[in-house]
């Protein structure tokens, strides 16, 4: 898959890159970061003009994210009908209102595996479109120009850099899962301790 995409990027340039990142933002499992770093290296070698390529990629990925946000937005009614009355749903929404912007921002370039679920949750009522758009645009600009810039900087070493960054992203995802697990375990343990103390001694 990666090889096919790379061949097409060198054949068709920015429009093809735009299509890849657009579809990636909608959840199609393309190796987006890998391609962005490769394109940075191609720009360094003079095969693609970096300002145009970067702007096309940024526009397309933000459009994809907005569409994905829209999907969450239009799916919110059945979800709210099902869960809207529960206390936990409101707590989750409050949590996302507080941390949603940062989740959108970080999932654009640091934990990219979470980008699509975060878009859907944001659209489903977690975040206003204006806030989503601001954090999305900022995060994606870092993804496109930061990661593309690394490809540009490292030139012919881009494959090794891409491999490292992909693994780092996986490592961070693992740390997030682990942190949630540990936090839940700690919350449960605290709740159990509290209920034990409430039981009167006989």
């Amino acid at each position: 898959m990666s090889d096919f995409l790379l061949t097409q990027v060198i054949n068709y340039g920015a429009p093809f890159l735009g299509a890849v990142v657009f579809l990636g933002a909608l959840g199609v499992p393309f190796p987006g970061t890998f391609i962005v770093i490769a394109v940075g290296a191609f720009c360094r070698q003079g095969f693609l003009p970096w300002p145009t390529t970067g702007m096309v990629a940024l526009t397309c990925v933000v459009l994809g994210d907005c569409l994905s946000y829209g999907m969450g937005y239009y799916a919110r009614e059945p979800v709210q009908r099902r869960f809207g009355h529960s206390d936990r749903w409101h707590k989750a929404q409050d949590f996302f209102q507080r941390w949603g912007g940062m989740s959108v921002f970080l999932s654009r370039f640091l934990i990219t595996g979470l980008a699509v679920p975060v878009n859907l949750i944001s659209g489903g009522g977690g975040l206003t479109f204006r806030r989503f758009f601001f954090y999305d645009l900022t995060g994606e600009a870092i993804w496109i120009f930061g990661y593309g810039g690394l490809g540009y900087l490292f030139g012919t070493q881009w494959e090794a850099v891409s491999d490292f960054l992909n693994n780092m992203s996986g490592l961070l995802l693992g740390l997030v899962i682990l942190a949630i697990g540990v936090w839940l375990a700690f919350t449960l343990w605290k709740r159990n301790e509290g209920s034990k103390q409430q039981v009167p001694d006989v």
């Binding site: 090889d3 060198i10 070698q45 012919t156 490292f164 490592l171 942190a179």
Partner: protein
């Protein structure tokens, strides 16, 4: 959710998290070692650094025009070496060319392309002076 299910969910999260961290941690460590072990970044444009080109940078997803431009070698030389027409083959990768024209010998296109590149980047030996 029953307490048993909650406990199962929490333990699953911790277990999956540990596996993912271990797997990607090891991979990231080796990838980092590889990045550090690489030579400093270089442009492969022959005009910029004539002796920096390395045929090992050629990959099977590359196309002939891409390689030709990368090494500043006329693409006609590659087509001649491969004995294939230029028309219709400009957007095909080395893998595609190999499976189309040389299906019985995998990797031959990449080898031939590297040979052409090496012919261009190998410095010519200075002519030996005739013995007096």
């Amino acid at each position: 959710m029953t307490p048993k299910r909650v406990r199962f969910l929490v333990l699953s999260l911790i277990g999956i998290g540990l596996i993912v961290v271990a797997l990607f941690g090891v991979r990231a460590y080796y990838a980092w070692r590889e990045v550090r072990g690489q030579p400093p970044p270089q442009d492969v444009l022959m005009e910029a650094i004539p002796d920096a080109a390395d045929a090992e940078l050629i990959r099977d997803w590359m196309t002939i025009p891409f390689i030709a431009r990368m090494y500043n070698i006329p693409s006609s030389e590659f087509y001649e070496a491969l004995d294939i027409p230029r028309r219709g083959n400009e957007i095909k990768s080395l893998t595609q060319l190999n499976s189309q024209y040389f299906p019985e010998t995998p990797g031959i296109v990449e080898t031939k392309v590297k040979t052409v590149v090496l012919q261009h980047i190998t410095p010519e030996e200075p002519p030996t002076e005739p013995a007096p």
